[in-house]
Each structure stands twice: as C-alpha cells, then as structure tokens.
C-alpha cells in the first residue's frame, strides 16, 4: 500500500512520538507537535498510539491512496474530503484505491494528523521515524513532503476498522485566544520588575514565524533586562547569558522584543536568557495555535503544573481505554 503526494501543503512531515536521548548533541525530540492528536489518530485506525503519521500544517496536502485503507484525521478543525465528499474528523473511515484526500480550510487549530492503518513506513533513525528538518534527519528522505513523493504504509493491525469514533468529551477544541501556563525561573530574575509585570499583563499575538522549532509571539510591550556588568563569556546585550541548554517549552526574549516558546524541534541551546517554561500539559495547545491567535501567559507553581499533567495523563488513559476496546 502506498500514498502519493499530489500537493504537499505548506509543511507536511512524517512524525511519531519522537526521538528522545540525543538532545546533548543538539538533536531534539521532534515527533508530532500535538501528541494528543497523534494518539487519537493512531488509536482510531487501530495502530500503536506512537505510530508514524503525517502532520499537516495550516495549508493541508492533497494525497492519493493507491490501495484500500483505513484512515483517520485528528487535530485541527478542517473537514477532510474524499473525492470532494466530506468525511468526519476524529472518526476512522475507509478509502478505496485511487481515492483523493483533500481538506477544507481550517476553522480552528493549526495542525492536522493523518493516520493510516499500518502506519507511515519510513526508515527508523535513532529510534524514531520523525523528521528533524534542520538536521535533514528521519522522516521521508530527511525533508518535508514534496509533490510526487510516494509513501509506503505498513501492515494494518487486525483490529483496524472504519467507524471508530472519538467521544465528544475526549475531543479537544482550539480557541483563538487562550492562557498558557508557565513556571517562572531559569533567568527570570534578569527581567526588570516592570518587564516581569508587563509580560504577564499583556496579550501576545502569534507571529507568522511560528513553526516546529518555536512559537514567536509579538505585540506585547518590549521587555527590559536589568543592567549589569555582563559575566565573562556572556556577550554584550543584557538579554545574553553564557550559552546554555534550552528546556522544551522554555521562553526566551531575544533583545527583549518577541518571546519565543521552543517546541519539539527546538534549537537545543544558545545565549538568550530564558524567563520560564510552559508546562508540559499546555504544549499541545501551543502546537495548535495559528498566526494571529492570542495568548496570555499565566504563572503557576510546580504543584499546579503536576496536577495539570496528571489531568492530561488521565485524558490520555481515557483515550486508550475507549478506543482500544
């Protein structure tokens, strides 16, 4: 079974649960930016929840299935169509040989996940099929999809069937304006008091430069850093530090201008002061933000971060028990 790419869309890539363990040499996690949607799409078609899928960003691709298959689409609110006829999101359906998959425009969210029973079969590199674009590593030929690419699909699990649907209470929504919870720390103390207040008071707008590496936000007030004699090796700007490792979800503000939340294709380190880190439970929500969506950052403590994580894990467990049945 193969899938042929007619139009690649804006940035369609092969992604799975990611590639941990190599951040110390600058190879980031990668994997589906919205991990919950990855799991939904896979479980609907009877795959292992971490199987490789296609992640489509904003402008979705046009694909042709060269053999019958079971397919499910999760993530962004964009109606999938087979040969022009609408199909449900968050529910598995069957396709025939030479059926064309296209999408309506996105109403909300930024990323759609296309799972096929059997999983997208590209070589496993360092334990994962995910593309890491900056390093030309993994994925299909180390790059995003292009017109004419032909993707192989693995062997479906025995349980793969059409008509398996995600219950409404497990279906996420993607609001245009939301609150992102973060734990302050790292180099937060380098901000002036006014800047620290402004950062939380202002509403930030997702910039067009929002991708798998990081989400850039703008339209808040410029943030100033405390003046100091810069430590040896740190560089001259007060927003500079001696180059250090960047946590996933960490927020840096180069020159005090535009906060960047690093995501799963993160640059692993550098010399910009990080002022805190978005909690793990909110990273999928970052992934589904479109340019011009609005965010406010909300400070939470570790207990709240862990509670939110436990709720996220409980929802994941709910998915498994509902969809694996």
């Amino acid at each position: 079974m193969t899938i042929e790419v007619i139009k690649p869309g804006l940035a369609t890539t092969v992604q799975d649960a990611g590639r941990p363990g190599y951040y110390n040499i600058g190879i980031p996690l990668s994997g589906a930016l919205d991990q919950y949607a990855l799991r939904v799409a896979n479980l609907l078609v009877g795959n292992e929840e971490s199987a490789a899928v296609l992640e489509a960003t904003l402008l979705a691709p046009e694909l042709v299935f060269r053999a019958p298959a079971i397919v499910a689409i999760a993530g962004a609110e964009a109606t999938p169509k087979i040969n022009g006829g609408p199909r449900p999101r968050n529910e598995s359906f069957s396709v025939k040989a030479d059926d064309h998959l296209t999408f309506d425009f996105i109403k909300s969210g930024a990323r759609s996940y296309i799972a096929v029973a059997g999983g997208v079969d590209v070589p496993v590199v360092l334990g994962s099929r995910s593309l890491y674009g900056l390093g030309a590593l993994g994925g299909f030929a180390g790059r995003k999809l292009a017109a004419g690419d032909v993707l192989r699909v693995g062997k479906p699990q025995p349980g793969a069937r059409a008509g398996r649907a995600l219950p409404g209470d497990l279906t996420p929504t993607y609001p245009r304006s939301l609150e992102l919870r973060m734990v302050t720390g790292l180099y937060f103390h380098r901000l002036t008091e006014e800047a620290a207040n402004a950062f939380f008071e202002d509403t930030w707008t997702v910039a067009p430069e929002a991708d798998r590496i990081g989400y850039r936000y703008r339209k808040g007030r410029p943030l100033s850093f405390r003046e100091r004699k810069q430590p040896f090796g740190a560089g001259s700007d007060p927003s500079n530090i001696v180059d250090a490792g960047y946590p996933y979800g960490s927020i840096q503000v180069p020159g005090g201008l535009e906060p960047i939340v690093l995501h799963r294709d993160a640059v692993s380190g550098g010399g910009y002061a990080m002022i805190g880190t978005v909690i793990s439970a909110d990273m999928d929500r970052v992934a589904q933000m479109q340019p011009n969506n609005l965010a406010r950052f909300v400070e939470v403590d570790m207990a709240t971060a862990l509670k939110a994580r436990a709720e996220y894990k409980a929802r994941e467990a709910g998915l498994r028990s509902t969809l694996s049945a």
């Binding site: 040896f232 090796g233 740190a234 250090a244 490792g245 979800g249 692993s268 793990s280 862990l306």
Partner: protein, 292 residues
C-alpha cells in the same frame, strides 16, 4: 566556587547553573556531575546535557518527582565536590582554511548587520583582540587547542573554548543582527566561544574560516562517522591547523571520494598541570597529535 543555582524548567526539566561566567572549572564541574548522573541510570531521566558553565536535565515527573530529581542532583554536587581535575578524553586535529573566499563573500552580503562594515570579520576580530595582523590572529587561534564545551543549537554543532589563560581568550561580539545565511562548516566566533556550523543556516558569529571536514552526516559516509552521525561530544579537545587553499581543495576532493578521515587520539587533561604552565601545557596537548 560557590554552590550551583538550580531552577526548574516547568515539570520536566532542571537547569543547573554552575556559574554565571564561563571558566574551565565550571565546565569541568558540569561534566563531572553529568557523567555521574549518566552512570546512575536513574529511571525517568531522558536527557543529560552539559553546556559550557551549566547543564540541563530532562526527566519524567511521573517516574521521579521533581523534588527527588533535584535532591539527586544536589547529592551528586556534594559528591563530586570541586571540579574533577583529570579528564580522560580524546584530541583531534582539524584543517581550517582561514580567511576563505566563501565566508568573506557571505560576510560581504550582510555588512550592514556588522559592527564594522568596512573590514572583514577576521580583520575586525584580529584588530579588537589586539593582534597586529590577521596572520598573528590565525597563529593564536590555531596555536592552542580548544575544548568542546557544548554540542547543540542544531545537530552536531560544537561550541569550543580555547585552552589558554583568560587574558589570552579571544572575545568578539556577535553580529548586531543575525545573518540569515552561513556556509556549512564555517568556523565562527561569538563572545568567548567558537563554533563550527554543522549545517548551513542563520547565524550571528563572526566568520573566520571554513573546514573541509564534515562534522555531521545523517548518511554517515566517511570512516569517522562509522559509529554515529555526529562527530563531537562535550569534553573532546580540538586543535586547528591552518591550511592553504591547495590543501583545502585536496581535502574537499577526498571528502567527495569518501577517503577523508579524522584521527582521534586518547589524552588526559589535567586542570592542575594546565594552571601550573598554561602555554607549556597547551603545547604538550598538541604534541599528542605528533606522537604517531
């Protein structure tokens, strides 16, 4: 050195700042702690990243509570005490074509983003570091070896810190605004660090030269990529050799033919011996490369 500053990166990370400023002592202490943590194979720890004067750990708080993780790191800090003075590692020599035409051309395209639009990056770096000529600067840059003190930003990119006294450290500011392009395998310098750009892309470091030796290759085409797709690890020692255009071209051909190689030799670095005689110790390290 006073105690390490720990900070949580939300629920999955701990960032540990050994010191606000860069020093070999801070780097060694971070390396020692990271090595010990690796040895312990603590369940839940997924990433251990030493970096210059700090380190970063990523963990799964469902397997190890953040407070327990922090306790483990503090315990290791107490155990390793002051910086480990001996580091068994390896040294490699890399050819560099300094003041090459490709980085000069790239620099010329981004002159309006530079502190001194009227000189090249290497002329500027030589002048503000008090060298009489570019050749004197190259002699200093390629004279003493460098420690890989961090690998990252992008895949396989090493950050290096020269093994000389602080008064001899080369320091340059980064570009006023980053370039959108840097040739692959550019030798760059920013702050007190140099970097080898493993892939083509954006960058803000002053461009000093270019090496013919690939350092990251997902296809693992050269002999020294046999075990892994990236060459460098934190703790490696690198000595640069200034080569002519002819040698550079020959190496590039050898890379294309798949016959180019880099040779790593074992060496033990002693912080104490370095402090006793910095320039003598630098020469001693470089001699390891000629012992064969």
């Amino acid at each position: 050195m006073s105690g390490i500053r720990y900070s949580f990166g939300a629920d999955e990370h701990i960032f540990a700042e050994i010191n606000e400023e860069m020093s070999l002592e801070a780097f060694f202490k971070g390396m020692a702690i990271c090595k010990e943590l690796e040895k312990r194979r603590t369940p839940g720890v997924s990433e251990i990243c030493p970096s210059n004067a700090s380190y970063l750990v990523r963990f799964d708080p469902d397997l190890i509570h953040p407070d327990k993780m922090l306790g483990t790191l503090q315990e290791i800090e107490a155990q390793v005490g002051e910086a480990e003075i001996e580091l068994p590692t390896r040294i490699v020599e890399m050819p560099v074509l300094y003041n090459d035409p490709w980085t000069r051309e790239t620099g010329a395209r981004f002159r309006e983003r530079h502190q001194d639009p009227n000189s090249t990056d290497i002329e500027y770096a030589a002048r503000i570091n008090g060298y009489k000529s570019v050749d004197d600067f190259i002699a200093a840059h390629s004279g003493a070896p460098w420690f890989v003190t961090m690998v990252g930003f992008v895949a396989g990119l090493p950050w290096l810190y020269q093994i000389v006294e602080r008064s001899k450290q080369i320091e340059v500011p980064k570009y006023l605004r980053p370039r959108t392009d840097t040739p692959k395998l550019t030798i760059g310098h920013g702050g007190c660090f140099m970097a080898i750009y493993s892939v083509r892309g954006a960058g803000g470091y002053q461009m000093l030269g270019i090496t013919p030796a690939p350092i990251y290759d997902p296809q693992q085409r050269l002999p020294y990529f046999k075990d892994f797709l990236a060459v460098f690890r934190p703790g490696d020692i690198v000595k640069f050799r200034s080569v002519s255009r002819e040698e550079y071209d020959r190496d590039v051909e050898a890379v294309a033919a798949g016959t180019f190689n880099l040779t790593f030799r074992p060496v033990t670095f002693s912080l104490k011996s370095f402090h006793a005689d910095p320039s003598g110790y630098s020469r001693h390290l470089a001699e390891v490369l000629n012992d064969h």
